[in-house]
Symmetry: C2
Subunit: 304 residues, 2 copies
């Protein structure tokens, strides 16, 4: 059964200290979908305008990403984001945001989508994430990503969302913000107390930590990259790779072993994303590239 | 055969935002020796004054740490350091340093010590580290730690040291300083080009990266701690745990497998160090505690 992935579909402009991307495909759901589709078909939920380039839709379709759930607003414009990275690409500033069709979007799932087993609520407003979640009838495993903006502006909705999902995925600075806790282990435990059975704390180049309500813990580093070209979407690709892996298992229950394997796949998928602007690298590689890097990483990190 | 460990032996005063340590045993060689001694006898090389408390010497001796190589200056005072940690204990300031007997110390090894197989040059001036290294006749594996101060003040001596040791151990900010490179993978490669066959890049709570000249790579996270009481000496304990493990093998050649296992042991040893001021925690635990935590970490990090 396909993985359900809901979130933003965007047209991005990205600047780094050395280069500008021009207009590229972006958005949390785009990255997550392309990442997941290496392992499992995807049902994509989102919204675009009539200006959404056909080449991007073609890319999705070429990768078993079903777009029946992507609303196309005939007289609307696609969500646009532009941002600039500084120094070592560890700091970023949003230059411009045009919500466009995203501004009044209320996601509607078709009956088929509502029966999804694995549901990934990629980064979006928690109100929108909740709308998708509530339409899912009996999901096996639900995952939500979030960001600093929603922690500040939609804390109540986020709290409600956390009560309803199986897993929260969040980066380290956002985890500290959400829990008002510096120690990341304590922060992980505090987030578990907010509702989800599992929390993944993403640490960028330092890898990730997985916490489980039953005391489960898993940690792994990131795949070593000699150069990061553009970190945009790395987190979305990570979570998409994980969700796709869970989808490929087709299980009625997800356990720690599954999550650890999924994290491994997400980790290497994210590393590819960082190698070129936007989704260019993921669009250029195949499942075999992912698997080869996963196996190399498993060996170098001496993982079981 | 005992591991040779040379470095500083100090009396420290440590302040954290919540507590003061009073005068505690410190110094790079003290931490490293106590950490190594869980796996292998240690020959300790250093210098103290007549004021060095007998209880500390007793602790060393109770742990198979031979002090024949520790010079006691009858009319001198032991090296003293005091420092203060701020906020989340990730930033530290040195409040006071009195080199005392360390100021004009020139380490001399006895014939027995000169034949050591595993040699750990714990953090000290690279001039002093070089003096120890040059007296070693045919070491199997030599490891050197360093710090920001020496990168700034003794760059030539450090460069010479790096030509002579098998492994450099350094933290992430120092690696960036030494190589003038932000990307840690590139920094690792640049340090390999400076001489050592292996480089370990320590990242504190984010674990470590191991680089080898033949393209070897290993990464692992840190043991998850819910609270860090005092991070002083964590890096020294890490490297000591590694050196002790290598010493315990008694091999004529050290390979990647050995280093990865040693890093695992060093990682958990360092985690104990952080749990109390100074060496209090290491002084209170046994080899069985180290092994139990290593096995727990191996399991949770899904390591082979």
């Amino acid at each position: 059964m396909p993985v359900l992935i809901a979130g933003s579909i965007a047209l991005d402009h990205i600047k780094t200290p050395t280069e500008s991307s021009g207009e590229v495909l972006g958005g949390s759901a785009s990255y997550a979908a392309l990442a997941a589709a290496f392992s499992c078909p995807v049902n994509l939920v989102g919204i675009v305008g009539a200006d959404f380039p056909d080449q991007h839709a073609k890319l999705f379709r070429s990768r078993e990403i079903n777009m029946d759930g992507v609303e196309v607003v005939a007289d609307g414009k696609t969500f646009r984001w532009s941002g600039e990275y500084f120094g070592d690409l560890n700091s970023r500033e949003t230059l411009d945001v045009h919500l466009n069709v995203l501004a009044h979007y209320s996601p509607e799932l078709n009956p088929d989508y509502r029966r999804s087993d694995i549901v990934l609520l990629a980064n979006a407003g928690p109100d929108s994430q909740l709308k998708v979640l509530r339409q899912c009838e009996a999901p096996v495993f639900t995952i939500a990503d979030t960001m600093d903006l929603w922690i500040t502006t939609m804390r109540d909705e986020l709290a409600e969302l956390l009560q309803g999902v199986d897993m929260l995925v969040i980066n380290d600075s956002e985890a500290r913000q959400l829990t008002e806790t510096t120690n990341l282990i304590k922060a992980g435990e505090k987030m578990l107390a907010m509702g989800p059975r599992y929390v993944i704390l993403k640490k960028g180049e330092h890898g990730s930590l997985l916490f489980g309500r039953a005391g489960e813990f898993f940690t792994t580093g990131a795949f070593p990259l000699r150069a990061v070209h553009d970190p945009t979407g790395a987190g979305d690709s990570f979570i998409g790779g994980l969700a796709g892996y869970l989808g490929s298992l087709g299980k009625r229950e997800v356990d720690l072993e599954d999550l650890a394997e999924g994290i491994l796949l997400g980790t290497v998928t994210a590393s590819f994303t960082c190698e070129e602007f936007g989704l260019r690298r993921l669009a250029a590689i195949s499942k075999a590239d992912i698997v080869a890097r996963r196996d190399a990483f498993r060996s170098m990190a001496r993982l079981r």
